[in-house]
Structure formats: structure tokens, C-alpha cells
């Protein structure tokens, strides 16, 4: 290892093949995968779930479990082939030379060990450091990852920290031994956008500071653009395109990469004029891959007899920096041509008011002690919520976790009752009626589409039976035959083949399950549908299809859609009006254009700037919010956002510290809860600018 030359690649993967062995068969997870990471370089590994990107990462760590095996190729780290190392040699490399950061920070920290002990363990193992010294180093690294009050944090248990803090600790743990290579497996997927922005900044800075190379695994193209120098796009176990990030983003040379970019909502996409294009078909199962090009059956440029004839090799694209593509036809395809299948849809006017909330409040009281004692505290989950939603309208509710958007959905559904205020649904006050006491009519009119399609379907009931069950509950149909017919109609509505009615949920993919969830929600002819992050658990290419489906059904049924999301890109794409929430307060509300362009509420501004955008032509102002979201149990006095607001100094008289700002109307029903004067608001610049081409 001493004779390693820094000008050579840190990590060199060549023709790597990995298979998992089950009792039935060998399942190839990764085939013929090659990539090179130079010193100090950040390599992005992008693809949908199941494409094998995490498997590659685990193969580098040589931690594939009992069933996984490397069946071919080599992984060279600083010139040493990792596939040939013994368990003991690997142990010395893990944690000290190569470190890994995982998706779920909470799950990757030991819940019964203090944070400091977990950090200090690394140098104790690898450098035989004395315990006190190791703790001192841990303290320094914790300060390095910009955590406040390192001493308190070192002595805390993981559950006492917030998600963002936990992820910083995981990063600190990876940095304890100053590794040469850092593998980040979806490090921010479980975090809020503003927290994500902070973590991404931190990772970039630390990479530069320590000269660490990075293998950054993500499904978020915008994030990869932010962090990485190079990118490798994977599809179904193969690398399909690799190259410099800018080159791949602006002049991609593989149809899958192109399709991926067309299915994500970039600024400029619009649900009516320029709808997203989802990738048709489904991801092939590992043992059902087609012959030839894996992407062939879903590709617009597919040519029979050529694309499916033989395995496609990686070909180098000339006039570029190590840009390669795995496509037979990349030379012939006109990459600048606009997509064909884009059908613009007309925008429909909204109808009458369906749902109205007036001064809705929801408070919880909780106790703080370990044995139930301690002081009682009131959590103000929702504070004076007022709005209207019209027929056929999409109202997006945006905010980070803990802002009260899910509580709001629960109150509306009747799973909780409001503390005070009114919820009027078609002139009927449903505020204090819990769901058990609502009539089948009311229940069927307000329905919900849940975030996680994997957990919301009964695993032991066929899909058709579950929809029929919903029809029975909503008292639809006169007899079983009638309901059977209605069920099949619903399957048509959500564009699932009728034969799927006989299938069990486990036989369906995530996107198909979510369609069943949507079918169930619309079984009673719902008028108001609350969609709680309906696509956030799905892959990007499926997201577009499911969003489009929701839009189509809405257009047909004139449904009011309350779209709860933290993903501002998708909100900008499909919402008509947006409501931004922070700590239980609605801080801004208006049409999508009003909210997404200045003047902003300072929180909206920060939120917008935090969203990574997968478009190199977009210039984005970076505003990283300092500090944590205050606890809802102990909100700051005055304006809820004052602890993190960068505009606070512009308000005279310390008004933000003492007084809750009133709701102001900036014209045309654009409401904002802020003390900033009209003059200051007018000086705000747009966060996102599309550079002139």
C-alpha cells in the first residue's frame, strides 16, 4: 500500500459481476460493471431501486452477506484487489481506508451506545489510540461536522438527536480515521430538504478539506449534479452511461438517461402545457432480463434484430472526457429532437368551494418524564389554519417534517378531532366528528392516498378483493356482481390490467401498488382526496406516471386534491395553489406562481433554494438554514421562523422576537405571515434563475 501513486485511481472497478444465490437460482445483480474514481474525485452512482447501485457499494466493502458473491472482475483499491483480501485484512481497511455512510442515520447508530463511544471506537480499533485521546478526537470531528455543543452530543444517545444531527454523526464516524474513500449510500434520502442542503454542503467541504474521494449513490439527479464530478448511470445491473456530470446532463448519449431526465419535474415543466413523460413498462426482474440491451423493451429507439441481438458493450463517446455509453444506436439518434409523445392538456377552471377551514387548531398535550410524570406540555401541531379548496383544484401543502402537515391531514380525515375551529365539507361541519361517527357518505367523499404503498395494502387479500371491500364499506353497488363490475372499472381508471384483480399485493411493483391505493381511495367517488406524499416512496420514472394518473383522474372526476409533499419540484409541477407550513403555522399561501417567485416568505425562500435541481443551466442561490427546526413542544416566542431567518435584521424593533406576525395579503390572495416591510420584500431576488442559453 505504501507504493501507491496518488496520480493513479483510488478505486478501479473492472468488469465486476455480482450474483445472489437463492435456493432456486442464481440471481445476477450486477453485470460487467466498471468505473474508476480518481483521488479527490466524487463519483455519482445513479439509478432506480433494484438497479444494483447499493450492491456495488457493498461489494467494495466486501459485505454482500451470506448469499451474495462476486462472480467475476476485480475491485482495486489503491492497487490492491479487494476481492482477494482475507477477512482480517478487510477489517483493517474497513473504517480506516474506506468508510461508508448510510441512508437511515437512525438505524445505523447503535441505540444503546453513547454517540461518543461509537465515534471513539474507530481510532481505538485502527490506531490503538488511548480512550481519552480518542474521545478528544471525536470531540474535534463533531465540531468539524458543525454540530453545536459537541460535549453534550458526545454524551447523548442517538435517539436524543434529530435526523440531521444523526446523519452528521454518521458522517463524523466515517471521517474519524480520515479515509481515502467515502461511500455514501443515499445519505440524505431520509432527511428534509433544508437539512439535506446542509449535509450536502458539509460533505462537499469535507471532501475538499481532507481530499477524500467519494462514491455517491443516489436516485436524485439534482443532488448528484450538486455534489459529484463524474456520474455513472445504472440500469438493471449494468452501467449504461458514464462521464463528466455536465456532459452527461447536457449531452446524454443513452436513451435511458434521456428518459430519466424527461420524467423528472424540472423548472419549466407544467402539468398542462408540458407534462412529464414517464418511461413506459416496468423495470425487468433480475432473472427476467431481456436479451441484448436491458432497456430495449422500454426504449423509444428500439430496433428489433439489432438491439436484442447480443449483449451491448460500453462504447467511448469521442470528444469528451471519458464519456461512455452502452447503446448500439447512440451515433444515429438525434439527441436534440424534442420528445414526440408530449400531449398538452387544457387547463380546466375550478368549481365551487368544496372544503373550507376556519381557524383550525389542533393541540396535543404530552408528558415529558421517563415514567410518565414530569411536566405536561402542549404541542401546537396546527395553529389557526384557514383556507378554501375548490372543486378540481390541486392545493399543495408543503413543509418539513414536524411542520404539522400530517396532523392537518389526520384532522381532516377525522382520525383526530380539532381542538377548535371549523372544517366545512360541502356546507357540512365535520370538525368535531371523528371518523367512526361519520356516515359512509362523508367517509367516501374524503379519502386518502398514503405515502408508503408497501404497507397500506393487506398482504393476504387479493387486490380486487381489497377494492371490493372498500366499495362495500362505502355502500356502493347493489350486489356482488355490481361491485365486481365497479371494481374492474376502477382498475381501468388507474390503468392497471384487469387481470391484476386476482393478484396478491406482493406480486405488484411499488408503482402498481400505489395505483391500487389510488383506486381504493376513489372507490366511493371521493370529492376530496388527501395525497400524503403519494410518490415519495417511488422511483423517479414511476413517479411521473403516478402523478399523471392522479392528474387525469382529477380532470375527469373534478376532484379536489390536497397534495402533501416536501418535494417542491413536484409541487411546482402539479399544484395550482401552494400552502407553506412551518411549526404548525401557514407562513405563505398563494398560487403556484406567486409562491415560487419573489417576494417570498423567508422560509419559502430557504426551502426553494434547498431543492437540488437536475439542470446545469439553472443557477440557484444557496441559502443554508442554520440550526435545527425548533421543537413544536417549545416553539420560539414571536415569529416561529425567527431563530433561523436571515432577513430578521431587516425588521426594526426586534418585532420578530416578540410578536407573531399577522397574516398579510400581498394582493390577489397571496398571503404571507411576516413582519418584513413591503419595500424589503420588493428587493427579494428570485432564488432560481435559468441561465440564458
Amino acid at each position: 500500500m505504501e507504493d501507491w501513486d496518488p496520480s493513479k485511481p483510488i478505486l478501479e472497478i473492472e468488469n465486476l459481476s455480482i450474483s445472489f444465490f437463492t435456493r432456486l437460482r442464481e440471481i445476477p445483480a450486477v453485470m460487467d460493471f466498471s468505473c474508476t474514481v480518481m483521488a479527490g474525485e466524487a463519483m455519482g452512482l445513479v439509478g432506480e431501486s433494484g438497479c444494483g447501485k447499493s450492491t456495488v457499494a457493498l461489494a467494495v466493502m466486501r459485505d454482500l452477506g451470506k448469499t451474495g458473491r462476486i462472480t467475476g472482475g476485480s475491485i482495486r483499491f489503491k492497487g490492491r484487489d479487494l476481492t482477494r483480501l482475507s477477512e482480517e485484512e478487510l477489517r483493517h481497511i474497513r473504517g480506516s481506508e474506506i468508510a461508508m455512510i448510510y441512508q437511515e442515520p437512525m438505524a445505523s447508530l447503535n441505540p444503546a451506545m453513547k454517540v461518543g463511544a461509537q465515534l471513539a471506537e474507530v481510532p481505538v480499533i485502527h490506531q490503538n489510540m488511548a480512550k481519552a485521546e480518542a474521545w478528544a478526537l471525536a470531540r474535534q470531528i463533531v465540531a468539524d461536522v458543525r454540530l453545536p455543543d459537541p460535549d453534550r452530543i458526545l454524551n447523548a444517545y442517538p435517539h436524543q438527536l434529530s435526523g440531521g444531527q444523526q446523519q452528521r454523526i454518521v458522517i463524523a464516524m466515517a471521517l474519524m480515521a480520515k479515509p481515502a474513500l467515502l461511500i455514501l449510500d443515499e445519505p440524505t434520502t431520509a432527511l428534509d430538504v433544508t437539512v439535506e442542503a446542509g449535509i450536502v454542503d458539509l460533505v462537499k467541504d469535507l471532501g475538499a478539506k481532507y481530499g477524500t474521494s467519494m462514491l455517491f449513490i443516489s436516485h436524485n439527479l439534482g443532488l448528484v449534479l450538486d455534489v459529484c464530478d463524474r456520474i455513472c448511470v445504472m440500469y438493471s445491473g449494468e452501467a449504461v452511461e458514464t462521464g463528466n456530470v455536465e456532459e452527461v446532463f447536457t449531452s446524454m448519449r443513452h436513451p435511458y438517461t434521456q428518459a430519466l431526465f424527461r420524467s423528472i419535474p424540472l423548472p419549466g415543466a407544467d402539468k398542462n402545457a408540458r407534462p412529464l413523460i414517464s418511461i413506459p413498462g416496468n423495470f425487468p426482474l433480475p432473472h427476467e432480463r431481456p436479451p441484448g440491451c436491458n432497456f430495449g423493451p422500454r426504449c423509444d429507439y428500439f430496433e428489433k434484430g439489432r438491439c436484442d441481438a447480443a449483449d451491448v458493450p460500453m462504447e467511448t463517446v469521442p470528444d469528451a472526457h471519458r464519456h461512455e455509453s452502452r447503446c448500439r444506436k447512440w451515433r444515429e439518434i438525434d439527441w436534440q429532437a424534442p420528445p414526440k409523445a408530449r400531449i398538452a392538456k387544457e387547463k380546466l377552471p375550478f368549481g365551487k368551494v368544496v372544503l373550507r377551514m376556519d381557524d383550525l387548531k389542533k393541540y396535543y398535550s404530552v408528558s415529558t418524564g421517563a415514567f410518565g410524570g414530569g411536566s405536561k406540555k402542549v404541542v401546537k401541531a396546527n395553529e389557526t389554519l384557514s383556507f378554501e379548496a375548490r372543486e378540481g383544484e390541486t392545493l399543495a401543502i408543503v413543509g418539513e417534517s414536524g411542520c404539522g402537515k400530517s396532523t392537518f391531514a389526520k384532522v381532516l380525515m377525522g382520525l383526530e378531532t380539532a381542538t377548535s375551529g371549523q372544517i366545512m365539507l360541502f356546507d357540512e361541519n365535520v370538525q368535531s366528528t371523528p371518523i367512526q361517527k361519520r356516515g359512509a357518505d362523508t367517509v367516501s367523499q374524503v379519502q386518502m392516498v398514503f405515502q408508503n404503498p408497501f404497507d397500506t395494502l393487506n398482504p393476504s387479500m387479493t387486490v380486487g378483493r381489497q377494492i371490493i371491500r372498500a366499495l362495500e364499506v362505502f355502500r356502493k353497488g347493489d350486489n356482488d356482481a355490481d361491485r365486481q363490475r365497479m371494481m374492474l372499472d376502477l382498475m381501468d381508471l388507474v390503468k392497471l390490467p384487469r387481470a391484476f384483480a386476482e393478484r396478491m399485493p406482493r406480486q405488484l411493483s411499488g408503482g402498481q401498488k400505489q395505483r391500487v391505493g389510488i383506486a381504493r381511495a376513489f372507490a366511493g367517488g371521493a370529492k376530496v382526496v388527501v395525497a400524503d406524499e403519494p410518490v415519495s416512496a417511488l422511483d423517479v420514472s414511476v413517479q411521473a406516471a403516478v402523478t399523471d394518473l392522479l392528474m387525469d383522474i382529477q380532470r375527469e372526476n373534478r376532484t379536489t386534491l390536497l397534495f402533501i409533499s416536501h418535494d417542491l419540484s413536484i409541487v411546482r409541477y402539479l399544484a395550482d395553489r401552494v400552502m407553506v407550513m412551518y411549526l404548525g403555522h401557514v407562513v405563505e399561501m398563494g398560487t403556484t406562481e406567486q409562491v415560487f417567485s419573489p417576494p417570498y416568505h423567508p422560509y419559502t425562500e430557504a426551502l426553494l433554494s434547498a431543492v437540488p435541481i437536475a439542470d446545469p443551466t439553472v443557477v440557484r442561490k444557496r441559502i443554508v438554514l442554520e440550526g435545527e427546526i425548533p421543537s413544536a413542544m417549545n416553539p420560539p416566542p414571536g415569529c416561529p421562523f425567527q431563530t433561523r431567518c436571515r432577513w430578521k435584521v431587516q425588521v426594526p424593533g426586534g418585532l420578530c422576537d416578540t410578536e407573531l406576525p399577522p397574516v398579510r395579503d400581498l394582493g390577489e390572495h397571496h398571503q404571507i405571515k411576516c413582519h418584513l416591510s413591503a419595500e424589503v420584500l420588493a428587493t427579494m431576488e428570485p432564488v432560481i434563475k435559468v441561465a440564458a442559453e
Binding site: M61, D63, K66, R91, H92, I93, R94, G95, S96, A99, M100, Y102, E104, A107, S108, L109, N110, P111, A112, M113, E121, V122, I125, H126, Y157, H159, V170, M173, S367, G369, A370, F371, G372, G373
Partner: protein
């Protein structure tokens, strides 16, 4: 913490009240009392005589009032025999009428008189609990470490040979009830004519006594030795070992698949350290509750084993009382059982909070 314990103690008292009332009512049913009258006075009594005996001995009041008297919140019944001597619940021979207390229930420390043993219940129960205490202690000392060790060894590498062997053994022991394993043990180790003892004697490995272990634990009441105590302890522990080991294994295998174990592994921590430092504490959280639940369960096993090995502890006393319609004794036994169950639950809840930093009880 204090408030929580106090609240739990309050709930415990209420539960104990309700449960003892149920036991009281069941043991004081009319046919049961008639049986008592006949066994205490004369088997060939007429129905009228039985009724007379019952009212003379204070069994004619309502169930509630008798329960109150037993508890010591109502004054004990008083009466007089035909020859004018004062009788009553609280009357004792040799104590002057003025010195006789009005209340004499368990609250005053008067647990009644055992009809089988002809002694105060409290004396009998105290001695029996002392014996059982030693038995339980020995069982716990053998059972808990063995079970945890087996569970952790089996669970740290799921599906390995060690796991298969230990799991099979654990299932086998749990599937064998005490009355079966006890009999097998006696036949194997404590018989002078069967099992391995005659062999050992023949080979000259066993001198001074005829059997490897003693088949009765009666002598252990005065002096506990390995020889006379091993079999009863083993019989009870064996069942529990299998059960706790299964729980520990399940919890351990689950913990070993957790992400933080992978984190530790990929940090370069060796396997031994991963198990000891990272997995163990997390894996012990779930079995802790199970171990605590084993205490009341031990009372159960104790009944069989003490009878089998003729060890005059709590279980043996309970069997004697139940078999001979000894009402006061039965009631006292049930009070003890109720408190053992509730107390171990309390300890289990509090201990859980300390083991698991994430838990907050409310």
C-alpha cells in the same frame, strides 16, 4: 419515577384486592363450607348440625362481610357457645376478653389457622416461602446465564451449525414438561437399580453413596447440598432454559441484522467485539421481560417439582392446602402469588427503562 412506582403500587393493591376476593368467594362457596364443617367436626353430621356449626364458627354472614373480616377492615364476628364461653374470630384461648382485639384480618397480621397443619398460616407460609426462595434462587442462577449464553451463541450466526444444534436442544427442553423431565431425571440419575448410577458404582467412580443424585429433596430443607438439590433445580431450570434461550436467540438474530451492526462491522470492528459491545445490550432488552415473567412461572413449576421431590416449600404447601380444603392457607397462598406476579412486573417495567434508553413509560 416515584410517581410512576406509586401509581403502579396503587394498581397492584387494587388488583390484589380484586383477585383475593375472587379466590375468597370461590373457596368460601356453600358446598365447600359444608365440607369444611364435616371434616372439622364430624363426618356424620346432619344438615341442621352443619348449619349450626357454620353459624357458630362465623361462616353464616354475607360473603362481603366475611371477606372484610378476613381482610381486617370489618370487626371479627363474636358469639357465645351454649355453655356461655365467648367465641369469635379474634378470640384466642388464654387471652382475656378485654384484651381481645376487635379486628383480626390479614391487615393485622392474622392470617388465620391452617386446618391441615394445625398451625397458624403465617408460620407455615413463612417457612415454606423460605424453602422455595432457596430453590428459586438456585434455579435462576442456573437458568438465566445458561439460557442467555445459549441464546446469544445461537443467535449471533443465524442458520449456522451452532444455531441449529442449540435451537433444537432449546425446543426439546421447552417441549418437555417438568413432570416428565423430573421423572426421567430420577430414573436416570437417582435410582440405585436403573440409569447411570449402578454403572458408575460398578466402575468405582461413585463411592460412599449408591446414586449420583438423590431422588428426594427433603433433606435439602435442613442442609442444601449439590447431591440433594441438583435434580429439582435442573428439572425446573431445564424448561425455562429452552424458553428464555429461544427468546434471546430471536432477539439476537434480529439485532444482528440491524443496520447499526453493519455499521460496526464496516467500521472494522471484529466479530467478537460486534457481538459483545454492539449486539448484546440491545439483544437483552426483549428477554429481560421474559425472564421477569419467568418468576411467576417458576411458582407454577415449583408446585410440580416440590411435590415430586417431596420438598416442603410453597408449592408443596399449596398442593396440601388445595387437596385438604384448607381455606385460610389457600387464601394466603394466592395473596403471595398475586404479589409475586405484580412485583416482578413492576421490576420488569422499571428495568426495561434502564436497559433501553429510548423507552419512556407513560
Amino acid at each position: 419515577m416515584l410517581a410512576f412506582v406509586l401509581r403502579r403500587l396503587g394498581v397492584m393493591l387494587l388488583t390484589a384486592l380484586a383477585l383475593t376476593f375472587i379466590v375468597f368467594a370461590l373457596t368460601n362457596l356453600q358446598p365447600n363450607l359444608e365440607k369444611l364443617a364435616k371434616s372439622e367436626a364430624s363426618v356424620r353430621m346432619s344438615d341442621d348440625a352443619v348449619r349450626a356449626w357454620l353459624s357458630e364458627n362465623g361462616y353464616s354472614g354475607t360473603m362481603i362481610s366475611r371477606y372484610g373480616q378476613w381482610l381486617g377492615v370489618l370487626p371479627g364476628w363474636t358469639g357465645a357457645t351454649a355453655d356461655g364461653t365467648a367465641t369469635g374470630r379474634c378470640v384466642e384461648r388464654g387471652v382475656a376478653a378485654e384484651a381481645t382485639p376487635r379486628f383480626c384480618g390479614i391487615l393485622q397480621g392474622d392470617w388465620g389457622q391452617s386446618t391441615v397443619f394445625k398451625k397458624p398460616v403465617l408460620d407455615m407460609l413463612g417457612r415454606a416461602l423460605g424453602h422455595t426462595g432457596w430453590l428459586m434462587l438456585a434455579v435462576m442462577l442456573v437458568m438465566v446465564p445458561t439460557a442467555l449464553l445459549i441464546g446469544v451463541l445461537a443467535g449471533m450466526r443465524e442458520g449456522s451449525k451452532t444455531d441449529r444444534v442449540l435451537s433444537t436442544a432449546a425446543i426439546a427442553t421447552t417441549a418437555t414438561p417438568e413432570y416428565v423431565s423430573g421423572v426421567i431425571f430420577i430414573a436416570l440419575f437417582a435410582s440405585a437399580t436403573a440409569g447411570i448410577s449402578p454403572l458408575l458404582v460398578e466402575w468405582g467412580w461413585l463411592t460412599g453413596r449408591k446414586t449420583l443424585f438423590q431422588g428426594t429433596a427433603t433433606s435439602a430443607m435442613d442442609d442444601i447440598t449439590f447431591w440433594n438439590f441438583a435434580l429439582p433445580v435442573m428439572t425446573i431450570a431445564l424448561y425455562g432454559i429452552g424458553y428464555i434461550a429461544r427468546m434471546t436467540r430471536a432477539s439476537m438474530t434480529e439485532v444482528m441484522t440491524q443496520q447499526y451492526i453493519r455499521t460496526a462491522r464496516l467500521k472494522g470492528v471484529g466479530f467478537g467485539q460486534v457481538v459483545m459491545k454492539h449486539a448484546l445490550r440491545n439483544a437483552l432488552i426483549a428477554p429481560f421481560t421474559v425472564i421477569m415473567l419467568q418468576f411467576p412461572w417458576l411458582l407454577n413449576g415449583v408446585v410440580i417439582v416440590e411435590t415430586l421431590f417431596n420438598y416442603k416449600g410453597f408449592g408443596w404447601t399449596l398442593v396440601q392446602a388445595a387437596g385438604n380444603n384448607d381455606i385460610d392457607m389457600l387464601l394466603a397462598c394466592s395473596v403471595v402469588a398475586v404479589f409475586v406476579v405484580l412485583l416482578t412486573q413492576l421490576i420488569s417495567d422499571i428495568g426495561y427503562v434502564f436497559l433501553n434508553p429510548r423507552i419512556r413509560l407513560s
